[in-house]
């Protein structure tokens, strides 16, 4: 069921969508997930480990890979990891992380920031 896409991937030799490095991280996940499914603390520790070994940019690729492979648990896991990583970060950090640019008019952005000024308190330094 969830592995039919994986099978397809292995069958398709010319597959460029998922690099080997990503595959080796994503594919062992189901076993790991099943083993530590019930235990939230272990999952958090695994999450921390992953964050240390993997650069933020890599997480984006992992998400795309998990999505392509139709692997919901991994997708949720990686998305949650990214969310935790950016939760307390500044708007600039998030832009760089996702490769986005501000397309607001000069005055517009300031106005928006003022509207929710309190949500900018306690943000991590870049």
């Amino acid at each position: 069921m969830k592995f039919c896409t994986v099978k397809q991937y292995f069958d398709d030799e010319n597959n460029n969508n998922v690099t080997n490095g990503i595959a080796t991280t994503v594919i062992p996940l189901p076993n790991k997930h099943l083993k530590i499914k019930a235990n939230n603390k272990e999952m958090e520790q695994y999450e921390q480990e992953l964050l240390r070994n993997v650069m933020p940019q890599e997480l984006t690729k992992l998400i795309l890979a998990a999505n392509y492979l139709n692997f919901k648990e991994a997708l949720d896991f990686f998305c949650r990891t990214v969310a935790n990583a950016i939760q307390n970060k500044s708007v600039d950090y998030v832009r760089k992380f996702f490769g986005l640019e501000s397309d607001f008019e000069p005055g517009e952005e300031e106005k928006l920031c003022k509207e929710f000024a309190w949500s900018f308190e306690g943000v991590d330094e870049d």
């Binding site: 690729k61 998400i63 935790n84 708007v91 832009r95 929710f116």
Partner: protein, 390 residues
Amino acid sequence: MFTTNEVLPEDLIIQILLWLPVVSLLRFKCVCKSWYALINGQNFINKHLLHNQTTSNKNRNSRFLLIQRQKSSNDHVFSKLQYESLEILSTEAVPSQYSGIPNHAAINIVSSINGLVCLDLNVRGLDIVLWNPATNETKVVPKSGISYPQGRALSRDIGFGFDFKTNDYKVVNLLKIFDPDPELYFYDINFFYAAEVYCLSTGSWRTVSTSAPGYFIDCSYYRTYTKGMFSWSASIGDDPDFFPGILSFDMSNEVFLTTTLPDGDLEDPNGTWRIFFVHNELVSLVTFGKDRERLENCFYIWSLLEFGVKESWTKLFTIGPLMGIEKPLGFWKNESLFLRNNEGQLLLYDPLAQKITNLQEEMILRNMAIHKNGLILIYIFVVSVCKQHT
């Protein structure tokens, strides 16, 4: 083809944003125009809400909302407690337009749905405010302005609920209309009962077409909202036979239902207190005796399985006897019960361990050092917590 800075498609960005708390989402509206539109969109708001209501996320994102009045300054403050740990996350003064309200003013939480809290404030007449504690946005519900030919309309009580059919939030106002002619003797005055509904989507009031029953509403503190039904504690019946029970309003169909209390409900010769709150999504009743000395009391807990069906009241369990308890306030997890003692302090009763913990000393007082010398808990809003939601 992958490049080092692959941009994620919108549906995957949504998957990430769903895990973020409201405060981060509000800030990230400033990232770019498409994120602003995305986060503001009703589609995303609904998804985020649903996401936070899944069992694994629900308690993590739920909060208890506490209203207290500081004895020293008489200011009302709101505190948010994390559902799981009861840790105080923040304490704030009431929304600014209502700071400095006089001591005798009462602020009550009517109900909380999907993160929107409805407050009623009695200062100079009734004010109804919709408040989102997660985003700090408030909206004062405008006065109705509907006039009745029979005379003046007074509000008996209000309710706040959600209409599943139209996906709309509604405020219901129970009215008593009477002819204020000073020439009339008291016993000649005719009363009429009506009900009005305010829809958030239209921003206006209209009269409810079905007739509003003329029941006496007992006490505003014991209003409940669950699964589309808003209920008030009321005396049901026709003069002179009145029976205690609940009056319920179906938010979608806009009809009234009454349910009397179960047979076998406690009748204490000294008098009986009855308190209603929501437990496991059911309207639940706690009855206990009015012992003058308030030395010891047993508390009997029932849940109503079906509105309008008196036989569906199911006795859950009995707690006690307990000493020095003024009243129970609501359930926490695992059937632990919040209690208020005669000194106005917040206690937690664990029925399994048969243990009572004084929360004021352990957690709340410690975190509220600045409020020492007099926390008056005027109302705890339990169970239906404000969920984090844009």
